[in-house]
Subunit: 345 residues, 2 copies
Amino acid sequence: MYKNRKVTIKQVAKAAGVSTQTVSRVLNDHPDVADQTRQHVQGVIEEMGYRPSALARSLIHQRSFMIGVVTAGLKYTGPSRTLSGIADQIEKMGYSLILKEVQHFNVNNIDSILNELLARQIDGLLWAVPEVEDNYTWLQNRLPEIPVPIVSLHEQIHRGVTAVLFDNFHGGYLATQHLFDTGRQRIAHISGPLDWWASKERKRGWQQALNAAGIQITSLHHVEGDWSGASGEKTMSQLLIQYPDLDAVFIANDHMALGAMLHLHQVGKRVPEDIAVVGYDGLPETKHYSPPLTTIEINQRECGSIAVKRLIECIENYKEHQPVDPKTVVLQPRLIVRSSSGVDA
Amino acid sequence: MYKNRKVTIKQVAKAAGVSTQTVSRVLNDHPDVADQTRQHVQGVIEEMGYRPSALARSLIHQRSFMIGVVTAGLKYTGPSRTLSGIADQIEKMGYSLILKEVQHFNVNNIDSILNELLARQIDGLLWAVPEVEDNYTWLQNRLPEIPVPIVSLHEQIHRGVTAVLFDNFHGGYLATQHLFDTGRQRIAHISGPLDWWASKERKRGWQQALNAAGIQITSLHHVEGDWSGASGEKTMSQLLIQYPDLDAVFIANDHMALGAMLHLHQVGKRVPEDIAVVGYDGLPETKHYSPPLTTIEINQRECGSIAVKRLIECIENYKEHQPVDPKTVVLQPRLIVRSSSGVDA
DNA sequence: ATGAAAGCGCTAACAC
DNA sequence: GTGTTAGCGCTTTCAT
C-alpha cells in the first residue's frame, strides 16, 4: 500500500508529452486547449491518479479556501450541533475547515491557537466560543491584529464584527411568561454560571417577565448552577429550602432540568402538579424525560450554517475590496410545550 | 481593522536590512547567526507582526502537519466526544486538524471528501465513521490509492490498517451477565440498527452471555431500534407485547433506554422492581435519569486520543521509511451499576 | 556569519 | 493552441 506517492504536474506533463501549462489548462477548464490534447491529458491524469496540490494553488492565489473554526465544549450537545451545521455549510460552499477546540474555556492558549490558524493562511475565522469571563475583552484587543474577516457565534464581541446569536433574553422571557400564563405565580429560576453572557440574558428574561406581570423577585428566588445534571440536583434542593412555596421553576438548560426533576421526584414533589418545570435548549431526548419536558428550543445547526454564509460573504467582499457590512443576526428561540409545565398533564 | 495584511519574509528582510535567509535562520533557530543580528531581526519580526506562512513551509518540506479527520453524526454525544479527544491530542502533538463530517452516514460524497483531503496534502487520515452497511468494503477498495497512513476508529477496516476500537461484544456480555447475576432470567434486548457493526457485536455479547448461563433465546426476545429515544419507546412497547413476562432488558444505548423507561413508567411497570434496565454509552446525564441508569461506559475521548497517537507514530515512521506495524488497539468498556438494575434500589 | 541562486507545485502573463 | 518565463513565500544548497 501507500503507492501512488505524490504525482506532480511535471510528471503528468512529461508523461503526456506536453508542457505543464497545458496540463494546468486542462485542470482548470481553460478554453484554449485542443479537444484532442485535452482528452489525452485527461487520460494521463486519471491513469496516474494525479491530484493537484491545493497547497501550491493556495500559495499562488493568496487564497486558501480554508476557514478556521474555534470552538469549545464539544462534549456538550449544543456546541457539537453547531459545529455540525458549520461543517456542513463550509463543505457545501467549497471550503475546508480547520478545527481548534479551546479546552476548559480558558484563555491561556488561545493566543497560540489564533497564530496557528493565521499561519495556515485561513481566509476567515469563525469564533464559536461562548462568552465567559474575560475572553470577551481579550479577543477584542487582538481584533486589530487579525488580517481576515471574522464572524462570531453566540456573542456580540465587537460593534465592527458580524455576529450570529440567539435572543437569550427573549428565551428566558418566553419560558417565564408561559409558566405565568398557565397559572403559576411563584416562579423560581436556576441559572447557568453568571459569568456566561447567555446565563445573564436568560436570567434577565425571567426577571423582566415577572416584573411585567407585577411579581416581586428576591434573591431567594434564584440559584446559580453550572449547567451539569449534578448541579441541577443540588441547586433544586437548595431552592426548595430557600423558597419552599415555589410552584414553578425555569431552569437555564435541559441537563440541569433533568437533574432537578430527579431530585423533585426523590423528595416526593410531583411535576407538574406541585411544581412546573421549563428547561432550555430543546434537546431531542427531553421528549422522553419523565415527565416530558417543556423547553425552549434553539436551532444550533441553523445558527452555525448562517454564520458560515455570512463569513464567506465577508471573505468574498473582502477579497474584492468591497466594504464589509457587519450586521448582527439574532435568531429567535421557540417554546415547546410538554407535560412538565402541566398543560397537557 | 484588517491591517497588518500579510507580511512576508521579504518585507521583513528589507526592513531589517538583511537577506531573507538570515530572517529564515532566525525563525528556525539556526546557530549561524550573530547574536546582534538575531536580536535586531527578532525585533523587526515582532514589530511588523510577521507570521511565517505554514503553506509555503509545507510546500517545501513535503509535510503539512495536517491530519484529515472524517467523522459522522456529530449531533450525537459519542462522535463529538471522540472528536474532542482527537482535537485535543492533535493540538498537543503540534498538528492541525481538517474536519470533514459525512452527512447521514451515506457513501455518495465520501469520494470527493477523500480527494479534497488528499489535495490538501494531509500527512495522515483518521477514519472515524461508524461501520454501516457498505462503507466498509468501499473504503477497503479505495485503500490502495491513499498515499498516507490511516488509522480507523470504531471499526476494523482492513488487516493492514491500524484500528482503535471498543470491545462491543464484551460490553454486551458484561451488561447481560450483570442482569443475570442480580437474579434476572428473562432478559430481553433492544439493539441498535443491525447494519451497524457495533450493534451486531453488542447483540452477540447478549446472546453469548445468556447461552453461557444456559438460557434459551428466541427471536421474540429481541427488537431492533434506531438509537433514538423515540425508537426506545416504540421498541419497548413492542417488546412488552411479544415477550410479556420479561424481567429485564439490555438496551444498546442510553438514549433508547431513556425512551424505554419513559414507556415503562407510562404503562405502570416499575423499574427496577418489575423490569431491570441496563443501557450503553455511559452518558454523564444517565446518573440523573429516573431511576438512575445502570450502563456500560466507554471512554470516547481516550479512544480519539489513542488513535491520534498511533496515527502520528505511523506518519513519523512512514516519513522515515520505517515499516509501519498495523496493530489494533481494543479498549474495554466498564460497567456502571445504578438503581435501574435493582442493586441499590 | 551572511548572501545568491535554485526550487517546492502550481498558474498568470506573455510570447509564438 | 501551446510553450516559456516568472513568481507565490519560504528553505536548502552552495558560495563568500
